[in-house]
């Protein structure tokens, strides 16, 4: 099990919190909340060790398009990068509803 943390700059505040996903095989859980400061914080808890570079690629790409100041906790149970992207997109979509 590994814990990985990233910070990103943000441009606008977010007021809601959103929960999507499940810590099931090949899936992950995303907890998205307003950030305590003006930056975005991501904490990844993953059951699969040794994929830090891939996590960084996936999250860099996601936060190049989304600029809300959020704190995100990801509980991952072996999701593929595609599934991670879909869950993050789902969380952000739920913010807009």
């Amino acid at each position: 099990m590994e814990k990985i943390q990233y910070d990103y700059s943000a441009q606008h505040t977010v007021k809601q919190r959103v929960h999507v996903g499940v810590v099931g095989s090949g899936d992950l859980e995303v907890l998205l909340e307003p950030s305590p400061d003006a930056r975005t914080h991501v904490l990844v808890n993953t059951s699969v060790d040794g994929f830090e570079a891939i996590w960084k690629n996936v999250l860099d790409r996601f936060f190049a398009r989304f600029h809300g100041a959020v704190s995100i906790e990801i509980n991952d149970f072996g999701a593929t990068p595609g599934t991670v992207m879909l869950r993050l997109a789902q969380a952000v979509e739920a913010l807009r509803v």
Partner: protein, 294 residues
């Protein structure tokens, strides 16, 4: 209606119905409660999760796989506890078990003071979480005690939808419910088929033989042999309606004796089985159905 039109209409109904099985635990609770009344307790953002799984290198889910919610059923106060079957096989650990037991005990306090709360349990569980062993078992025992205490005041309604089913100590919790609702995809049993195959050998039970497994412990068989009170297709609206019906057909003032109170009746059913004769699902139905008639 000609046969073609009938089968087309059946097909359309199949396509239009909302699958309960495919829903997450949280979606299931929302589907059962009156619309707009869902209020979650100890939700994922409270982060009351397993302290034991990370110590064993396993990522914990923020709600430990149990969704607790208050809301209403036909405008009456209700409590629903739903187990997320895709997280650790819906297993009961210290936290997930305590969430259910604690919620049932609070409902019991309310009922004892004359404020009736309708309790519903949505099972999807392999039983105790092996990584948390005795702590999970202790919580399951508390759930059993709470169900037995609570059903003196109000029916306790259980639902097993599938596809995990309901096994181990939690199969006892299901059996203790005043009313149990199943789908054909549900399974209910003490030991799961994989465990039986592993312990007794593939000659005893082939866990990969789905037809055989469901003929023994599947929802249809459990309903036909008197272990469940209602059998429904996998349809969220039908299940929500059946939960309401279960509370209205089991009057609070004069509840029918629960299964676990009918000790002599079940002893008699067991005595009717000749262990020297081969027994399968079909022959158990033939043997018990005349005896199950009220």
């Amino acid at each position: 209606m000609n046969p073609d039109a009938a089968s087309r209409a059946g097909y359309r109904r199949f396509l239009e119905r909302r699958s309960f099985i495919e829903m997450s635990a949280r979606e299931r609770v929302r589907a059962v409660l009156d619309p707009g009344t869902f209020r979650e307790m100890l939700g994922p953002f409270d982060r009351i999760k397993s302290p034991w799984l990370p110590l064993q290198g396993i990522v914990a889910q923020a709600d430990d796989g149990v969704v607790l919610a208050r809301g209403t059923l036909q405008a009456k106060p209700a409590l629903i506890a739903a187990i997320e079957g895709t997280y650790q096989g819906g297993s009961m650990g210290e936290v997930s078990g305590a969430k259910i037991a604690g919620a049932l005990e609070l409902a019991l306090d309310d009922c004892a003071q004359g404020r009736l709360i309708l309790p519903v349990l949505l099972f999807e569980t392999g039983g105790v979480r092996l990584q948390e062993a005795n702590l999970g078992l202790a919580a399951i025992a508390e759930i059993h005690a709470a169900i037995v205490a609570l059903r003196r005041y109000v029916p306790v309604v259980g639902v097993i939808a599938g596809m995990v089913g309901c096994f181990g100590g939690m199969s006892l919790a299901a059996a203790l419910c005043s009313q149990l609702i199943v789908t054909p995809q549900a399974r209910l049993g003490m030991n799961g088929p994989e465990v039986i195959e592993q312990e007794a050998g593939i000659e005893e039970l082939d866990a990969a033989d789905r037809g055989l497994i469901w003929s023994l412990i599947g929802g249809e068989q459990r309903y036909a042999t008197g272990f469940a009170d209602d059998l429904l297709e996998d349809d969220a609206d039908a299940i929500a309606a059946a939960v309401r019906k279960a509370f209205s057909t089991a009057p609070v003032s004069t509840p029918a004796p629960t299964r676990s109170r009918q000790v002599e009746r079940y002893r008699e059913l067991l005595r009717s089985i000749d262990p020297n004769q081969p027994l399968d699902g079909e022959s158990l139905r033939r043997l018990w159905q005349p005896r199950l008639m009220p």
